[in-house]
Amino acid sequence: METLLLISVFVIATCGLVYELIAGTMASYLLGDSVTQFSTVIGSYLFAMGIGAWLSKHISRNLVAVFIQVELLIGLFGGASAILLFAAFEHVASFRLLLYTVVTIIGVLVGLEIPLLMRILKDRFEFKDLVSRIFTFDYVGALVASLLFPLILVPRLGLVQSALLFGILNILVALLTLHLFSREIPWVRLMRGTAFGLLIAMTLAFAYSERLVSFSESSVYPDPILYARSSPYQRIVLTKSEHDLRLYLNGNLQFSSRDEYRYHEGLVHPGLAAVHNPRDVLVLGGGDGLALREILKYPSVQTITLVDLDAEMTRLFSTQPVLTQLNGGSLSSPKVKIISQDAFIWLRNNRRHFDFIAADFPDPSNYSIGKLYTTSFFRLVHDALAPDGVFVVQCTSPLIARKSFWCINRTLQEERFFTAPYHVYVPSFGEWGFIIGTTHPYMQPEQFPSGLRFMSLDTAQNIFHFPDDMKMVETEVNRLTNQALVRYFESEWGGYAH
């Protein structure tokens, strides 16, 4: 019996540390700045444990029963902690409150555990043995937890299932204690019923947690999933590792925070810096606000209209701290007007003219998206350009999808654009292509805004040069009636997991 109880100490110690690590990890994923988050979470957790320890002296009767109830509560709160925090991620205003509430509740309960157990066991051991054994098992449990967590739990199970697994262990400890002390405690049946109920609920949640946070996706993505949700238009997945935040739409990488500046500086500056005194800018797609961040570096720009179909994207990128840190809160700029509408349909009804238009759509991997790269669409863009305006469009990889890239170029030329194709190297994407379209021959900028990390006059000298393996090839014009681009794209990217 004593041995079993000491094993319980080991288990609950492991559980206690795992919950703490989960809370710390969630906080650093969701709020950024991992040093601060870990530090404050650990601090408040230990403090709450202190409260628990202090409270334990007020419990004088039915020690075992209270211990069992504490275990059940830890199992419930700890087990559900990750689910709760993930769910709260969408309502960021209340996220911190919930985080520290959860941390405090679990901390207080965990703080009660050891003192209660010590008092339960005090007559079975000598004091020096009791202290020695309990703390030995406690610290060994902590070591095991701290090793298990990064090496096995997070990579294999993810946060949600790890939390549930340890919730189940807590409940098993409660059941074990119930079994050992069944004669000494009141309401055994009630507690046993509750324990089994919780056990079943937790086990079910563990089995179905894939559905809860789409856990099955985690095997698809290299990094832990921070956020996964299907908007009416697409599957939005954010993943986070220590140094990297990534956005995937329908499984396709949209950016990696480590090198997105190369992509977005490349998208915006060669075109926008070539416009004299730009005032009105239109961004099509680009709901992540990263192109906006670059555009806002031009003080002459007075209005930016962002047309992105998915309101969920713009909401996410204008409210999430980790994301607004990345885009500099660009979506909340008073210059920015967000329109949640299909770009093609919006542009067909548009009568305004813009000095700079950037199209940052997903790659033309299906017929619906392919329409955004057709003569019909580019004609609407042409009509919306101010007389000296500049248009730029992201054009997939000219290295991997050479025909696709030059097909977009050919299609722009068909609609009377002067084109200036260029490419930049974005490590997480590879060699990436863009095409500038203008109504007069394009002149390279004479200066770029200050504070850029990648684009410069020197860099701009090279980006318009295409080595032999990316040189122009003859292609068809992409039209609504032939969708030549989607066919090129499919054959060229078909060999890659895209």
């Binding site: 093609f344 017929y367 057709t374």
Partner: protein
């Protein structure tokens, strides 16, 4: 556990018997869908056959009465109006004009109830080119003089796919599972069609033209009208099953008749008459809209809708001295009006003419050679786009093993980059029985039965589609299309039907023998010109 064949059969029999007792195997429970059968025409039309039309109680007078507000009638009306003549009325049986080009609309999309595309205009079809320019379908010409079509009206890619052997392939000519012999016959067949497409007769006219009366009269080509398309294939030794399927599909698609019932001249006409060119599309591209040819109808109606008398059934037409008396029954007001007109353009089918026009009624058999295929059309509004294994959802989606013609995606022209809902238009020519029998069956069948029939057909390629259905409406066309049976197009009956009867001129596309927009339009404007010339001289 491994079952022997005997055990398996025994077990299956037990299961089947059990299921039959429970009533599942033989009669799957009919599922309920939201929708109805549309088209009041048949019921109203049968008043003619069954009596019950009161004698005239009102008199009216007009210049020209146009009977029938389909494409021919609307085109005639619009042409007269363009020539400055607007003393005319259009009598329309249905609640709104449109005929086979009628369309509907709901929150998701507009959709066609029949005709849903027009091929690019042939260079010699001046009238159609002019119409396309007037409607903005053609927006200009390139340096070489080729018409530039508005790309929003050109059928968006992907165009066609075929469900065959459990997956969708691109294009309608079966490829999956075909042998080299099939491929050889395909090549032969299509090169023969291409030769006909380029061929000119000894009279210098194209062998197969649109409108078809401008085709060559060279017997070398005309003689094809005396045999069926099936016989034509047999004479060429083309016995490949997928080729026969494809040609039969084309005959059913265009004429609502099997290849055994279709004249070879008509069958070849489909492949050999289209020579349309565009600066910005290949010649196989078609012009289409979500509402199908209803788009053209709606444009025509903008000009002439004030002249349309909806829900009005022409009951009797007879010569009266130098004019014509037209009695029509107003279904809504339940009264018969007698209109005295100077002329009539008759734009309803011949079988109606034979009942309504006194001179024809008195000569019997004037419509005997005219046979019509009944059609069932369903519009189905879906919560999600029907996908399936293989080729992507296309404009025209056909199933190899089905009696239906599959479905056309009404929302194909949508510009949305993340489309969700869809409206599909499902077509089936009822060509498995003689027309009269099939027509009576169709009209006697309930909505629930039709809806289940449609869904079961779609489930061949889209299991579970029933769950996606928001609305399913059915339109039954008792006399959907004239059938170009052997001998009909170049025979005497059609020639006779083209001749005016006194001051009554004929313009319905059944006088062409094939039911296509170009024929109806050409007939309509030709009749308008004929009538205005006639009025000027009389």
């Amino acid at each position: 556990m491994k079952l022997t064949r005997r055990e398996f059969l025994a077990a299956s029999a037990t299961l089947a018997a059990g299921a039959a007792v429970c009533g599942f195997a033989s009669h799957p429970p009919p599922r309920r869908f939201t929708g109805k059968i549309l088209g009041a025409g048949a019921k109203t039309g049968h008043l003619l056959r069954d009596g019950g039309i009161p004698p005239p109680s009102l008199n009216d007078r007009t210049g020209v009465v146009i009977v029938g507000g389909g494409i021919a009638g609307l085109a005639a009306a619009r042409a007269m109006k363009q020539r400055g003549f607007d003393d005319f009325q259009i009598l329309e049986l249905e609640e709104q004009a449109g005929g086979n080009s009628t369309s509907g609309r709901n929150a998701v999309s507009s959709y066609p109830w029949g005709a849903h595309y027009v091929p690019l205009a042939n260079p010699e079809n001046r009238d159609l080119l002019k119409l396309f320019e007037e409607l903005g379908v053609i927006t200009g010409h390139d340096a070489a003089g080729l018409p530039v079509y508005d790309e929003y009206f050109l059928c968006a890619d992907p165009h066609e796919r075929l469900y065959i052997h459990g997956r969708w392939q691109e294009g309608l000519v079966p490829q999956v599972g075909t042998t080299s012999r099939d491929q050889e016959q395909y090549r032969d067949f299509f090169s023969t069609m291409e030769n006909y497409r380029r061929a000119k007769g000894r009279d210098g006219r194209p062998a197969f033209a649109i409108p078809l009366d401008t085709s060559s009269h060279d017997p070398e080509f005309i003689q094809l009208d005396s045999i069926s398309m099936e016989e034509f294939l047999r004479q060429h030794g083309w016995d490949s099953e997928p080729l026969r399927w494809y040609v039969n599909y084309c005959c059913r698609d265009d004429y609502g008749a099997t290849m055994g019932e279709t004249s070879a001249w008509a069958g070849v006409h489909y492949f050999a008459s289209r020579r349309g060119l565009a600066a910005n599309a290949n010649s196989q591209t078609v012009v289409t809209w979500p509402e199908g040819n209803g788009w053209i109808v709606n444009r025509f109606r903008q000009t002439v809708d004030a002249h349309v008398r909806p829900s009005c059934l022409a009951a009797n037409i007879e010569q009266d001295g130098r004019g014509v008396l037209v009695d029509y029954y107003d279904v809504v007001k339940k009264q018969t009006v007698r209109v005295t007109a100077r002329a009539v353009i008759f734009c309803a089918p011949r079988f109606v003419a034979a009942k309504v026009i006194r001179d024809l009624r008195e000569k019997s058999g004037t419509a005997d050679a005219f046979t019509y295929s009944p059609w069932a059309v369903a519009n189905i509004t879906l919560k999600s786009r029907p996908a399936g294994r293989g080729a992507d959802l296309s404009w025209d989606n056909v199933m190899y093993s089905s009696d239906s013609l599959g479905y056309v995606l009404a929302t194909n022209q949508s510009l949305e980059s993340h489309p969700h809902e869809a409206v599909i238009t499902w077509y089936q020519p009822l060509s498995d029985k003689p027309p009269r029998e099939a027509r009576m069956d169709a009209l006697a069948t309930s909505y629930d039965t039709w809806a289940n029939r449609v869904v079961r057909d779609l489930e061949r390629a889209h299991p579970g589609i029933a769950e996606e259905i928001m609305q399913l409406d059915v339109w039954l066309w008792g006399h959907g299309m004239i059938r170009p049976t052997p001998g009909f197009i170049w025979g005497k009956a059609r020639q006779d039907a083209l001749k005016p009867s006194g001051n009554v001129f004929f313009a319905h596309s059944d006088t062409s023998g094939i039911s296509i927009f170009e024929e109806a339009y050409a007939r309509g404007i030709a009749a308008a010109k004929q009538v205005l010339d006639h009025l000027k001289h009389s």
